[in-house]
Subunit: 360 residues, 2 copies
DNA sequence: TCCACCTATGACATCGGTGTCATGACATCG
DNA sequence: CGATGTCATGACACCGATGTCATAGGTGGA
């Protein structure tokens, strides 16, 4: 690989002059500049980042640690790739600044993380972003103070800057929309009890019911994800069966995610129920491959992965420039409800609401 | 950030001795070694890759260019993330060698690719891998001869080493299995006519029919992806309708991908047909979130993304070590058929085959 | 006309590691 | 006992950029 000395020799100038042409940080005579550029092209010269970095002590690198690229053996998400939208958001935002994103994959094996961090530190990354595959509490190994870090889709208990989804509000907004559409008996099939999102979303569900003056009925809330993935369909079937046999059965099923909603479509249809004519279904995530492709398309809430990625990258950039907020707090990012054809508007109980529906 | 000189001073040795401790490339007395290690820990010293790289001229970096992380506005794949499995396979394989993978995202905007390549060259990557979002013909900007490059999920016309999926064989194997299960009237809903996979897979389809002595009936092959994504459902509905109204209607629908199969499930059920009791469905890709979650689970062929990623990385490593084959040819990677509950075994026409089914 | 000043350019040191070679202290062997 | 070899360590140069400072040549104002 040609060096700046080769170029200098070919152009019959000093290396420093070549450097000036490259960086434009000092005036260079036109004739000289042309000669240098010609030599650069002729030799196919590309400056070495390593040498530049040594001198300037600026790597222009941002490190991203994720398990998203590797397989998650998570019962909840056998192929949970959508969190890669997070990476997309981060990439977009970091790319705009001219910095380069280095991505390392932990394979969700936390014991590998320290090694990845070490590699990044060897490359003198200017900052780190850690992305979790789903909303969770984490504890990262220590990182030197002068390397800022932002957690994404996760948080810790020592106040590291973090960006997480607004699970409470997402579920709240969805349920509020269902109520506005005339639904009163709203079933909720939750994800596993031990994940962070489940509790937050149930809060949002209860809150929305409370605001509408609808009593919370525990019989309408069941976990749809107990035990191993193999038994999942059976668990769902049982839960749905139990709720449909209530004296006041639900008119809509809210699912823990779009994948679960996909299963629920199949189960309901096997029971001879048409979606949405006989019963409505809503999901969570706005996992587009499912939500848009399902027939009929699925009403759901967006888990705002891309927006979270953008936000995380912005926070890191703020930390670089020292604008970083001192509170070192957690950003909560909400996502919109996507209203599609899997939920019917139910005939509302009084005339004023009927009018509303007509306008809609 | 502490340097090797700081460590040397703290441990009262020369920088070179610290280097020896770090790399273990020459014997160091135990007492000295302990002192050096203590100093390293005390100072939180992490060696600078840039400095190391300058001297050794080995970056330990591999560059990966992909559009997979960014949004593809492809009618065929509104959220086609599964090709990220490719990245996973590459990451795994490269990681084993101790090299670091740098990932850059072209956002599928080919005009950005030269810039990304330049950035990688500045970092002195030892090799490049280009990943396309779907099987296609590409033309990359030139790369210096001393930087090996491997194309993945794509190929070019100048013989660059490439790894592509075996679309022909995949479809062939699936159709052969369907025939073995007793199906004779096999409908095929294809992807867009202009993509590489469509032609290859149709060849596989015809080949399998031919081997079984079944005549090819053009009425059973229809494109399921014409026009814009919005009209896709309508197009599918029409194509399915036409085929079901044939005097000899199909007993199974082969779909261009699992997403299409998901739509087909909905359409068939809307027509009152149960899958698989009334009609069978098969997909392509083994996009697990869909194939495993659908009810009933979907019979499909794996598009072997992970295996292709592994293979691509291996080929690059071979090029590093000079073992690279001179033919600079294209590797074709096949994937297995996943037989799930969306296809029924049909009563075979004679007794000997009936026996076979019983054993199964 | 001479000095001050600006422009264009080059010499040299430096960043943080590592390769090469030299050196001093012992151990081994004839 | 001296020659030879091995071990542990250090001095120094070098990788390829760029920051600092110096300098040659030209220009303008007093």
């Amino acid at each position: 690989m040609a060096t700046i000395y080769d170029v200098a020799k070919a152009a019959k100038v000093s290396p420093k002059t070549v450097s000036r042409v490259l960086n434009g940080d000092a005036p260079v005579g036109k004739k000289t500049r042309d000669a240098v550029n010609a030599a650069i092209t002729a030799l196919g010269y590309v400056p070495s980042n390593a040498a530049r970095m040594m001198r300037s002590n600026k790597s222009g690198l941002v490190g991203l640690i994720t398990g998203a690229i590797s397989d998650t053996i998570e019962p909840a998400q056998p192929a949970g790739l959508p969190e890669l939208l997070l990476v997309r958001g981060i990439q977009q935002t970091i790319g705009l600044t001219g910095k380069t994103l280095m991505i390392a994959d932990s394979g969700n094996r936390s014991e590998r993380v320290p090694d990845l961090i070490k590699t990044f530190l060897e490359h003198r990354v200017e900052g780190l972003i850690y992305v979790a595959p789903y909303h969770q509490n984490v504890r990262l190994p220590p990182v030197p103070d002068d390397t800022p870090i932002v957690l994404t889709n996760c948080f810790d208990e020592i106040g590291t800057p973090a960006v997480i989804p607004d699970d409470r509000r997402g579920q709240h907004d969805l349920v509020a929309r269902l109520i506005a559409a005339g639904h009163q008996r709203i079933a909720y099939l939750t994800l596993r009890e031990d994940i962070v999102a489940t509790g937050l979303r149930r809060n949002g569900y209860r809150e929305a019911l409370g605001e509408a003056g609808i009593a919370y009925d525990p019989a309408l809330v069941q976990c749809g994800e107990i035990g191993s993935p193999e038994t999942e369909t059976q668990v769902l079937w049982t839960a749905i069966d139990r709720m449909l046999n209530l004296s006041q059965p639900p008119t809509v099923f809210c699912c823990g995610n779009d994948r679960q909603a996909l299963k629920v479509y199949g189960i309901l249809r096997s029971r001879g129920l048409a979606v949405p004519d006989d019963i409505s279904v809503a999901g969570y995530d706005n996992y587009r491959v499912i939500a848009e492709t399902l027939y009929p398309p699925l009403t759901t809430v967006e888990l705002p992965y891309t927006a979270m990625g953008v936000r995380a990258a912005q926070r890191l950039l703020e930390l670089f420039s020292g604008e970083g907020r001192n509170d070192a707090g957690t950003d909560v990012v909400g996502g919109p409800v996507y209203w599609r054809q899997s939920v019917t508007e139910r005939r509302p109980p009084n005339v004023s609401q009927l009018k509303l529906v007509r306008e809609d």
